[in-house]
């Protein structure tokens, strides 16, 4: 029984939150890694693209709610998601046309593109704050829990409860669908294959008649969809706050680099590595250890390795360790 209780406590506080958070990071990191693979720069504006997409979803959700539309037990935001994706696609395509294309034609150095993306970051950040303001917005509705602590306790008779939030379930399902679609697209369709070819070897791809502008356009479309989805899922799970999305940039970059920049599979693995380490290292293990250890050894402190405010430090330390020992990441990425 004690073992089961420990397992349930562990799932409730570590495993389930990490899986949800890891899926969100993985979707974000996929966007970063695709841009790096095709356009060959680190996009600092990615966090704010996510914020913009999520903001559109929030606004459309409010509109739908005011019209009385709802999605039954599921959050209305899922209905708003496709429209938000379209809006974000328009934004990134305009940005590409007005800003990035000029530097692509100039064959500017990647670091110049990074600085350009800093400018785009300022603009998107300002735009989001201008439209919706810098404050917290909650837009999740529908059922709160798939299974709540009380139901679980009544069901199993265990002392520890297990809760699965609807948003956590949705996050995982949506992420799996997105990743499956993405991999199908990259591996099976002609455009997807030309994207991979372009990412592998630009000159060879151009020689074989691949239109680079088309590849770039599809990349931005996919990135917009991934970023919006990641942003909406994160916002549903926690809450929507523009500044938080900007701060997500660090764990997202860490995930992409740990997995190997330019490798989609790596981005997913990296997302989960970062999420699990952040949560395990900042979790207070007392509750789990209480069940696992004999009474005499019961810990008196919280057994928390680091306080939760240091979660950025965790992703960063993993990043540095990976960069020092395996510079191309877990899955062989680019090292241009």
């Amino acid at each position: 029984m004690d073992f089961l209780n420990a397992l349930v406590a562990l799932s409730n506080f570590v495993i389930i939150p990490s899986i949800a958070y890891g899926s969100q990071l993985a979707l974000g990191a996929l966007g970063v890694t695709l841009i790096y693979g095709i356009l060959r720069f680190s996009n600092f504006a990615h966090g704010d693209t996510m914020a913009f997409g999520a903001m559109l979803a929030v606004l459309i959700t409010w509109l739908l709610q005011s019209m009385g539309v709802s999605f039954g037990p599921l959050p209305t935001a899922l209905l708003a998601l496709p429209f938000a994706i379209l809006g974000t696609m328009a934004l990134v395509l305009i940005t590409d046309r007005v800003v990035y294309r000029f530097y692509r034609e100039q064959k500017a150095k990647p670091v110049i593109l990074v600085i350009v993306s800093m400018g785009v970051m300022f603009i998107m950040n300002g735009l989001v704050r201008f439209i919706i303001g810098p404050n917290d917005q909650r837009f999740a509705d529908g059922e709160r829990f798939i299974i709540s602590v009380r139901e679980f306790k009544a069901l199993t008779g265990l002392k520890e409860g297990l809760a699965i939030k609807t948003t956590q379930g949705i996050t995982v399902v949506v992420a799996v669908v997105c990743v499956a679609l993405l991999f199908w697209f990259l591996n099976r369709t002609r455009t997807g294959k030309s994207m991979r070819a372009y990412s592998d070897n630009e000159d060879l791809a151009l020689l074989s008649g691949i239109n680079p502008e088309r590849v770039v356009m599809y990349t931005w479309l996919i990135v917009a969809a991934l970023a919006t989805t990641a942003g909406v899922l994160y916002g549903l799970d926690k809450s929507f706050k523009p500044f938080v999305y900007f701060q997500l940039l660090l764990p997202i970059f860490a995930s992409a680099i740990v997995g190997g920049l330019g490798s989609p599979l790596g981005a997913i693995a990296g997302g989960f590595v970062i999420a699990f380490s952040e949560v395990t290292i900042t979790y207070a293990w007392k509750k789990v250890l209480k069940y696992m250890l004999p009474e005499s050894l019961e810990p008196s402190s919280l057994v928390q390795l680091l306080s939760t405010d240091y979660k950025f430090a965790v992703s960063f330390v993993i990043l540095i360790v990976v960069l020092l020992f395996k510079p191309t990441g877990l899955f062989k990425g680019k090292s241009v």
Binding site: V111, I115, L323
Partner: protein, 434 residues
């Protein structure tokens, strides 16, 4: 138009704008812009050293600025009575144990042959070291933080004159930059950018959470000043006589006098750092740096030690940012770790350097003043613009209210637009590198 006239005109324009602010708004605002402009110019000189001279992509400026602020507390604050005997030494010993663990791990990894034995040894040392570190640290921290928590609860400083804190800020930032450079400088530019971005967040996280250091988010207020207090001036008969001779209000005059004192101090520091940067740029060392920036491989082939030179300039640039950070905290009179945000303290400084002209010290200084002026003034300008745009709308229109309320967020948008315009149409900045 010769270069000198163009540069003079540009600087004349910026100072003209500041003086105009004095006439149109108030001299207090104008001097506030001037003081923070001086500090911004120093920060942007620091970034220019790293990016303009050596091509190092450091987006962790915020961290070094914050370290400068921390140095002010550690240097000039009065020591908290009993804190050192209660737990201060314990904390120092714990930190030494933590550092020892890391050094030990590195040594083990260097000495032992690759293989399972080495991995096990690494893990054992790290785990034992961590447990030891927390075991020593936690009681010490609790003891220090228990001392008068509402007002103190920290170790306090050395009680030295606050002007000494400025070089101390530089030293502290330089020390941390050396540690960071040792680990992260081998990375290529994108990775270095992300690494420094992360380090800055970590420095802020430490300053927010380690209350024993400088009270964390409980803030340190009432830090010592190198200039007289307004209230003392208002009570001094000599000062009152002089202001009445000038026909000014005593309260306004005292606050202007204090700000002017700061301006003079900051201007002296700016001139010293500017002259040093200029000499460095023109020296063989500066030429070597630019050679490394333009072609690392060629420079290496000429026998230049690229990694060490990078480390050198990374430390120097960070030290300059640290000095500026210390000056800023002195000007504010308080250390508030919660207010450090990367957009304001890292990316805005980058906009200053790029807009001013990377690689040119004069450009960096100009960018510092100009962008800081805009950062402050875009808000009232945006508000005015919104009022003009919405003047045709109904008084109670929701859109009108929203637009006017959101005018404050115009500044980020404006900064982005300025950065992109400069990058597009004048990529080398207003005063380009020679």
């Amino acid at each position: 138009m010769s270069e000198t006239t163009k540069n003079t005109a540009l600087f004349g324009l910026v100072f003209g704008l500041i003086i105009l602010t004095g006439f149109m708004q108030s001299w207090n605002v104008a001097l506030f812009i001037l003081n923070m402009g001086l500090i911004s110019a120093i920060m942007s000189l620091g970034v220019n050293l790293q990016w303009g001279f050596a091509g190092l992509f450091n987006v962790g400026v915020m961290g070094f600025v914050a370290l400068g602020g921390l140095a002010v507390v550690l240097t000039s604050a009065a020591p908290v009575e009993g804190a050192w005997s209660a737990g201060g030494w314990r904390i120092v010993i714990a930190l030494l144990a933590g550092a020892g663990t890391i050094v030990g791990t590195v040594m083990v990894r260097q000495r032992m042959a690759k293989g399972r034995a080495r991995n096990i040894a690494t893990i054992v040392i790290l785990v034992v070291g961590f447990v030891l570190y927390r075991g020593i640290l936690d009681p010490g921290v609790n003891a220090v933080e228990a001392i008068n928590p509402a007002l103190q609860g920290n170790l306090g400083g050395l009680n030295l004159p606050v002007l000494l804190a400025w070089p101390m800020g530089g030293l502290l930032a330089a020390g941390v930059a050396w540690l960071i450079g040792k680990t992260a400088l081998g990375l290529r530019s994108d990775y270095l950018a992300i690494a420094t971005l992360g380090i800055a967040e970590i420095i802020i996280a430490v300053m927010k959470n380690e209350d024993w250091l400088a009270r964390g988010v409980k803030n340190m207020v009432g830090l010592e000043r190198p200039v007289p207090y307004e209230i003392d001036l208002q009570n001094s008969s000599a000062f009152i006589n002089r202001t009445e001779g000038l026909g000014m209000d005593v309260a306004t005059a005292s606050s202007l006098f204090v700000k002017l004192n700061y301006s003079v101090l900051f201007a002296i520091v700016l001139v010293i750092i500017f002259v040093m940067a200029q000499l460095a740029l023109k020296s063989p060392w500066g030429r070597m740096m630019r050679a490394i920036r333009d072609n690392e491989v060629a420079a290496e082939a000429m026998g230049k030690d690229v990694t060490n030179r990078h480390l050198q300039i990374f430390v120097l640039g960070s030290a300059v940012c640290g000095i500026a950070g210390a000056m800023m905290t002195t000007l504010d009179g308080q250390l508030t770790p919660g207010t450090y945000q990367p957009l304001r303290y890292t990316f805005l400084i980058w906009v200053m350097v790029i807009v001013g002209g990377s690689g040119n010290n004069l450009g960096a200084v100009l960018g510092g003043f100009l962008i800081w002026f805009l950062w402050v003034q875009v808000e009232p300008m945006g508000l005015w613009l919104m009022e003009v745009i919405t003047s045709g709308m109904a008084e109670d229109s929701g859109l009108r209210k929203h637009l006017i309320d959101s005018a404050a967020h115009m500044r980020l948008l404006t900064m982005g637009v300025i950065l992109l315009l400069v990058l597009r149409f004048s990529p080398r900045g207003l005063i380009p590198e020679k």
